[in-house]
Each structure stands twice: as C-alpha cells, then as structure tokens.
C-alpha cells in the first residue's frame, strides 16, 4: 500500500519507530519549522521598541520556567508553590559568581552558555533537595514544604550580606562573536538566545515524555501504589521530578539575570511563584504546549490591565489607586474562571481547534 507521509490520511505506520515520531506527518513538521523560521526572522523585519522586546523576552523566559513547572506539577502531579525560588536559585547562582569573581569576569561574559547550564544544574540540586519530603509527604502537605522553601529562600537572600541583602547584584554584558552585546541589541540578542533555549528545552521535554523517564512521572501522578508495583520507586521518582523542574527553573533564572543584567530578590518572591502556578493552570496542566500558552496569556493580560488602569486613571480621581487594585483582581478572576470553566486550560482550546481543522469541512 502506498504510504503518504504528508497527510494524516493514508499515513500508515509501518514500523514502531514511525509511530513514535514527534511529528506524525511531514506537513506537521513543515508547519512547525516554518513557524520557527517566522519566529527567528520577524525581529529583523520589524523595528520593535526595547520596551516591547523586554515584554517578549520576559514571556519567553517564563515559558522556560513553566516547562519545568509543568513537568513537575502537570505531569508528576506535585504542586510547587516555590517555583520562583527555584528560578531564584538559578539567578543567584550567577549572582554569586559575579560577587566572587567580579561581574565582568570572562567566565560570566564569555562562557555564558556554560553559566546558564551550571545554574540549571544548581537548580536541579536544590529541586531534588526540596523534593526530599516527597519521600514521606503527599499532596497539599508537600506543597507546604515547597512553600517553606520559598520563605527560607527569600529570608536567606534578604539577610545575607553576600547576596547584598536582596538589593540588585549586577551581572556584566556578555560577548558574542561580533563583540560585546551593547544596549541597542541587548534585548534582541537575548530574544534569540532564549528562543533557542526554549526549542532545546521543548525537544528535551517531549523526548523525555516518550521514554521511561517521562512515563514514570505520569505514573506517580495517576497512581503511585501501582507505580510502585511496576517497579519504580515512587519517592525517588518524585525527587527526580523536582530535580527536573528545578533544572528548567534554574536555566530560566540565569536567563533572567542576564536579561536584566542584575539579580534582585523582588523578581523571585511568593507572588511570582503563585503567578507561575497560574500560568501553568491557565496554559493547561499536563500538556507540553500549555507551557507556551500560559505565560503568553498571563503576561498579555498583565499588559492589558496596565493599559486599562492607565486609561481609567484619567477618568477617576488619582487618590483611588485603581491600577494596584485592578491587577490582582483581574489575575484572580482569570484563575477562578479557568478553574471553573476550562480546568484543562488553553491547551484544550488548541486541541479543539486542531481537531476541527483536521476534519474540516466535515463535522466528524
């Protein structure tokens, strides 16, 4: 039988390897790479102000962190209220280097990819350590353990002079093959770096999910008694899940530090942890593409609310600080609405759209 690898129709798998591909059809892959090309090309075609580029960079960094949180909370079912602290561990790993060897040291400015990976690894170590209670605790109690890590992290940074007591520790400008990356190119440069990191992370995560290392995560989420009987140590699997989540968070933290050229505690507070959790929920827990939708949606919402608050500020009197009230209000409302009406998140809309276009123009 003739096999048509381009469309879903007539795409017969003749080997198990075919079946396990990430892209089921050539068309899927083509779309994906075309989309990637667009992502890489558009900053060259359009002039974007630094302000908006910063917003986009922020979204991308959040995506890296959320991929980790999604593996941890979505796939392994372990709620983490300390994800911002894990991101902070990555950032402060870089900051510590800056404190010890100086922020313009060649290691920080030239070997930055190494530093990013190193921060990720440190994040993984801290993740595994914080995950140790998972050997004994479950569900909400475990979540409280992660919350306590968040608290301890903030307190430690705030009270140690080595960490400048939470004040900004600066990180030097990095070098690329073309020389030092200056202010004009800074945000575009980091856009490309973070985009590349996301692509690598996405491939790593989706590869993991089709091997034993990914399936074991889902197993401990769905039924850890059965997971135990299947021959995996449920506790250690959870610790490993924390390490995995911590790694992605650590990478995100290092990227954050480089992007802002400094590290301060105000970016890694409890508020941010909750906001990360919200992104994961709104995006869709337990789906990889949800990690992309969540940060996009929440950060866009933030932006819109800011705009709205500014406009409303002109109409109402200034002593009514509407902007500060609107933001948590909108934020909370969105989470509640999603939990009520679409607990599977935006990823579920994506799934519906995809299945609709697959069948179009037929209904089923």
């Amino acid at each position: 039988m003739a096999v048509n690898r381009w469309l879903a129709t007539g795409n017969y798998f003749t080997s198990y390897r075919d079946e396990q591909r990430i892209f089921a059809t050539h068309l899927n892959r083509l779309f994906f790479f075309a989309f990637l090309c667009c992502l890489f090309v558009w900053p060259l075609l359009f002039e974007v102000s630094n302000k908006y580029m910063l917003v986009i960079d922020n979204i991308l960094i959040a995506i890296v962190a959320i991929i980790g949180l999604n593996l941890l909370t979505g796939f392994a079912g372990l709620i983490s209220i300390g994800h911002a602290a894990f991101v902070g561990v990555g950032a402060y790993c870089l900051a510590s280097f800056a404190r010890v060897i100086g922020d313009e040291h060649i290691l920080i400015t030239h070997a930055w990819p190494v530093m990013i990976i190193l921060s990720g690894l440190l994040g993984a170590v801290f993740g595994a350590f914080v995950g140790l209670p998972a050997l004994r605790l479950k569900h909400l109690y475990l979540a409280i353990a992660t919350l306590s890590f968040q608290m301890i992290f903030e307190w430690t940074i705030n009270s140690m002079t080595f960490f400048n007591q939470g004040q900004t520790i600066s990180v030097g400008r990095v070098f690329w093959f073309t020389g030092q990356v200056m202010r004009a190119d800074h945000y575009v440069f980091w856009y490309y770096v973070v985009l590349t990191v996301i692509i690598i992370c996405w491939f790593m995560a989706s590869n993991l999910l089709r091997t034993r290392y990914g399936r074991s995560l889902i197993a401990v989420r769905d039924n850890d008694r059965a997971a135990d009987a299947m021959g995996m140590h449920p506790g250690l699997t959870k610790v490993y899940a924390f390490a995995l989540g911590g790694f992605f968070a650590g990478v995100a933290g290092a990227l954050h530090a480089y992007l802002y050229r400094g590290v301060g505690i105000e970016s890694f507070t409890l508020h941010h942890s909750i906001s990360y959790l919200a992104m994961a929920i709104v995006g869709g827990l337990g789906t990889l593409n949800g990690s992309f939708w969540g940060p996009l949606a929440i950060r866009t919402l933030d932006l819109q609310v800011d705009n709205l608050a500014e406009k409303a500020g002109h109409i109402f009197s200034a002593n009514l600080s509407l902007a500060t009230a609107l933001r948590p209000l909108a934020f909370g409302l969105v989470i509640v609405l999603f939990l009520m009406f679409e607990p599977r998140g935006i990823a579920n809309w994506w799934r519906i759209v995809k299945s609709y276009t697959k069948l179009w123009p037929f209904k089923y």
């Binding site: 080997s15 198990y16 390897r17 079946e19 396990q20 790593m204 590869n207 993991l208 089709r210 091997t211 034993r212 290392y213 990914g214 399936r215 074991s216 889902i218 197993a219 769905d222 039924n223 008694r225 059965a226 997971a227 135990d228 009987a229 299947m230 021959g231 995996m232 140590h233 449920p234």
Partner: protein, 253 residues
C-alpha cells in the same frame, strides 16, 4: 525455577491477626490458588508477598532472596508481578501507555540518551513497543489499544490489569480476583488467558478467586484460608474432601 516459600507468616493490625502463622509453598510452573471466605486474609497474604505489607513475624523467600522486608518495586524487580483486585490502573492514560509503563525496568538506556532520543533510547523503545504489542495480541486487547483506560468497561479494565502485570515479563504472576464482578462469558475468557499464561508462557500463577468451580478446574494446588489461618491444602480433590474446608464454606451439618 524458583520456589516462593511463605513460612510461619503472621500479620497483625493492632490486636487483629489478619494472618496467623501461615505456611505455604508456591511450586514453579503451576497454578496455585488461594481460596477462603471474605476476610480470610487472602489479599493480605498477596500484599505481604508483593511487599505492600510487611509480615509481623515469619519470612517470605523467593529463591535466594528474602522478601520479608522488601518494598513493592524491589519485589517486582525479582520478576514477581501483581494484578490488583480493585483496579489500580493509570486511568488517565491509554491502554498502550499503561502497558509501556509496566516495561519500566526492562528499559535499559541512560537519561541522556532519552533526552536526545537517538540511538539506544529510540531503538529500545521500538523493540519495547513490539513486545507490548505481543501482549496486546495475547490478551486480545487490539480494539482498545489507544483508548483511555478510564473509559473502558469494567471487564476490559480487569483484563488490562492482568495484561499490565504480564507485560512486566514476570516469572511469577499474582492475580487477585481477576474475575470478580464478571459475567460467565468474560469469566471463561479470563480462565482461558490464565491457562495460556501458565502453559504457553510458562509463568507460575498464584490465583485468588471466589468462584470455586473455576478454582477446582484449573488449579494444580489449592490453599484454603479462614480467619487468617491455613485450614487446608492440596490438590483440588483433596481440598474438596477436607471436612474443615467444607465447614468453613457451608457450615456444620
């Protein structure tokens, strides 16, 4: 072939003895059944063997290994698989994924290889997928391969449960009431599977079952428990003639 020896096992919860000095030997290559009225301690015994409970006294050995203090994953790594009485499937996943999960410890590739999914990882995953397909074929689960387990009927879920234990390629299979709540036809199917598992695949089977007709038909060896005590053992004929067993099941004349 390795024997499973349960010697003098007592399991007590507070003052209650779920098992009191139970002695039994599971001979390799046979179907051994454990029967008894409700609350007799059958599932407790299986839990002790598979490591979910640890006996208060006594020892459980499998070949040279002492299972008395082992945890479930250590037991399953020795080739002892178990199907649960109350479904303990990964209900959000497809049948295929459930079975793939059972291969967890048969997949020998490194984490890094899994990250790039190239070479060893992809090759082993493909081989593994072929193995799972063989089990799907054996347990006649083809129509349900990609269905979510939670959406399947009870009878099929039970069969997936057995299939999942079988996918671990065990040497000893513990089946806890695989036919509970099934109609005659479904029961006949499962009985056929159990006999096939023993004869075609050469796997030792330990069966807990309430349907005495089935037990008498297919077992090589039967142990009877009542109130945590072993009240009889032997071939089906011997057990059927044992006055203690008759008393436990039908009551005194």
């Amino acid at each position: 072939m390795t024997k499973l020896i349960v010697s003098d096992v007592t399991l007590s919860f507070g003052g209650l003895n779920a098992l009191s000095s139970v002695d039994l030997v599971i001979q390799p290559g046979l179907i051994t059944s454990v029967i008894g009225p409700n609350g007799a301690g059958k599932t407790s015994l299986l839990n002790c063997i598979s490591g979910f409970y640890h006996p208060t006294m006594g020892t459980i050995t499998y070949g040279n290994h002492n299972l008395t203090k082992s945890s479930p994953h250590q037991v399953s790594n020795l080739g002892i698989a178990r199907a649960f009485q109350n479904l303990e499937l990964f209900s959000g996943m497809s049948v295929l994924d459930n079975l793939l999960l059972a291969r967890h410890n048969n997949l020998k590739y490194s984490f890094l290889s899994a990250l790039i999914y190239y070479g060893k990882a992809s090759q082993i995953e493909a081989e593994n997928r072929a193995y799972v397909e063989e089990i799907i074929d054996f347990m006649e689960l083809e129509p349900y391969r990609h269905k979510t387990v939670g959406s399947l009927s009870y009878g099929v879920q039970k069969r997936v449960e057995v299939a999942r234990a079988l996918t671990m390629s065990p040497k000893l299979l513990l089946l806890d009431e695989p036919m509970a709540g099934m109609n005659i036809e479904e029961k006949e199917d499962v009985v056929r599977f159990i006999v096939d598992i023993q004869q075609e695949r050469g796997i030792t089977v330990v069966l807990i079952e309430h349907d005495l007709g089935v037990v008498m038909d297919i077992s090589n060896q039967i142990y009877v428990l009542d109130f945590g005590e072993l009240i009889g053992s032997g071939t089906p004929e011997e057990v059927a003639a044992n006055p203690k067993v008759i008393e436990a099941y039908i009551g005194e004349e």
